[in-house]
Symmetry: C2
């Protein structure tokens, strides 16, 4: 085995945002040297890595040259140059997750076809080369409202996805390769994080549940464990493992799924990295997702994915009416509540709905955590300094 | 309240060792800006702080100028210039713990007298201005073997302390101001960490127990909760709170105590900072000691000090036969064990008994954690590269 700890070994991380920042807590804990590449000179990862480079993650030469300085390369964001990853692999630099996996995931059309080929249940869909083709199908009555429109590339945090209920909604979507997907009237949106190392060891985290705001239809709480039937949970875990196995994935794979009204599990989409739905693990799990990712990509033994206590995560997003230098109003109030930990990502400027941090609430009783989570949600405001 | 999060507020930390490094995980989590001063350019804190300065912690001008760049000053090591702290306080810069507290703690003679004055039980002692005075008392039969010799200043990690059993042992001690202390035939060595903020809010962590190697008489395991009678635990917690109250301490105060054969609690010594006996809290507690220290010195609400699970800490010290570039032999073996987390401090060179890191073992059952801790201890070796 390679000697990673307090050695000359270097891990290259593409992307220097909050996911990278939380990964760096773990590389620091293990004293593993890191290089980070990010386009933003003020990226959250700028400090706490051993070497920071400012550069374009989609630029072939930049990624290649950055990668060559490392022994193993990983990423914390999907938008990186895959060709450069492939070249690095050819040169013998391990890149985990692999270029082949990332390529499939970057394009939602390819991703969906991959599920079909591997007999992984997913919502029915049709691929369209451009907007015109989609409109033709609608005109000819082959595609009925409502449906879910997804751009095959570039989607992130709800961008590139739209529910199309009428002709009017069609005006809002750009001309791009896309898929039209059947609307799933789901009971629950679930997620499972699977960890897999190059030796093939696999561990899955418990199933988490996304609880939606009843009116705004936005995810309000990520709840672990999901308050669902154990058999459904088992089915979701097995499905997630099947997806990881199909990709021969190395690292973390966050698998988002729908629990249909008939308790079927349909895979929605995946992220090949630590994921928002796993943030609760920092406080609640025996091994948090960031440590697990490091263990996985370095072919170390995977850690225990069980929870010590119930965990709920609330995203801290910028108030819709505020833009400017950020202030976390009432943060001292939520810090008084039992088992509450705020995570502040370090972005100086708040904008409407910008992800500025998250708050974890842990408690032996998930019902108690849920109550406190609501108090947190009702107390803290991410606003601009006056 | 001051706005600490993603703001221009700056926390100055004197000392950049492993305690500071673990504190920085928390300042990063809250996005609180930090300045760190340490004599070693390669200090573990060098990265992950916002500004690092190399300099002598005992030098008045260095500490004063460093402190002036911060809004609040704290320390992670007792060996800092107290006069500079006092001057900073005069200039309106908050220093927590205070200069007055640190001054009392830096000198074991003053510390012991402070306990007497405040009616805090402690082992009987005698203060000697120098070695000659001590020898005179022995000659005249006023001081009998065995006793514990402690230098009043400069002791750390077992240095400056010796058990004197015979005339021969006297040769090993230097000429310095010292105390001679009654040997306490104790059942257990216990510790309690007390957190107190400037508003006077106080929270204590559960009592931990130091388990000694039956032959080598060295602390092998720090165990939380201590496997002692609840009434004794309650007494220890109350005693620790009394000490914190007497000091009007702000920040963390680690209180080390003896449980005598008669179940009396005697205070041994204190450390005004995060402490080795609280490392288990990173994995086991709702609020770890480093986050708690930050909360306390910034007058934020204190977090829950309860444990989620049982925790045991094993120090990782350099093998006695090895000096050179460090290798953590069998680290992958201990990472396979349930609930095991290694913390590597980042020192490149190992030396006999040098503190290189620690390992935490958590488990719902403390007896199970204790078994795994022994496997950890028997597996991992801190050796030099061949």
């Amino acid at each position: 085995m390679l000697n990673y700890f307090s050695s000359d070994f270097k891990l290259g991380i593409l992307g220097g945002g909050q996911l990278g920042k939380m990964m760096l807590y773990e590389t620091r804990k293990f004293d593993i040297q890191t290089n980070v590449l990010d386009p933003n000179a003020e990226a959250p990862c700028r400090i706490a890595c051993n070497y920071f480079e400012q550069g374009d993650l989609m630029d072939y030469e930049t990624v290649l040259n950055f990668g060559r300085k490392a022994d193993v390369v990983t990423f914390e964001i999907e938008g990186v140059n895959v060709e450069a990853l492939r070249k690095l692999e050819e040169e013998g630099i391990k890149t985990y997750p692999s270029a082949a996996t990332l390529e499939k995931i970057q394009n939602k059309g390819i991703q969906k076809k991959f599920y079909l080929k591997n007999k992984i249940s997913t919502a029915a869909f049709q691929l369209y080369k451009n907007k015109e083709e989609l409109l033709k199908d609608i005109e000819q009555g082959k595609r009925k409202f409502p449906f879910v429109w997804k751009s095959t590339t570039g989607g992130y945090d709800g961008k590139g996805v739209a529910v199309i209920k009428s002709e009017n909604d069609l005006n809002t979507i750009p001309d791009a390769e896309c898929i039209a997907e059947e609307m799933i009237p789901f009971k629950n949106e679930l997620a499972v994080i699977v960890a897999r190392n190059p030796s093939g060891e696999v561990k899955t985290y418990p199933v988490v549940e996304m609880e939606f705001h009843p009116v705004a239809n936005q995810v309000e709480y990520v709840i672990c464990p999901a308050r669902i039937d154990p058999e459904v949970a088992e089915k979701a875990r097995k499905t997630a493992e099947k997806v990881s196995e199909a990709f021969k994935h190395v690292g973390l794979l966050a698998v988002e799924m729908f629990q249909t009204r008939d308790d079927e599990i349909l895979v929605n989409e995946v992220a090949p990295r630590p994921h928002n739905s796993g943030h609760y693990s920092i406080e609640a799990s025996y091994t948090n997702q960031f440590e697990q990712h490091i263990r996985a990509i370095l072919d170390l033994p995977l850690g225990n994915t069980d929870s010590k206590v119930g965990g709920i995560m609330v995203n801290l997003v910028g108030d819709e009416n505020h833009t400017g230098e950020v202030v976390y109003k009432n943060i001292e109030k939520i810090m008084q509540m039992d088992g509450v930990t705020p995570h502040i990502y370090g972005k100086k400027i708040t904008r409407p709905f910008r992800k500025m941090g998250h708050v974890t609430i842990v408690n032996e009783q998930i019902s108690e955590a849920r109550k406190i989570a609501e108090e947190v949600k009702n107390s803290i405001k991410v606003i601009a300094k006056k």
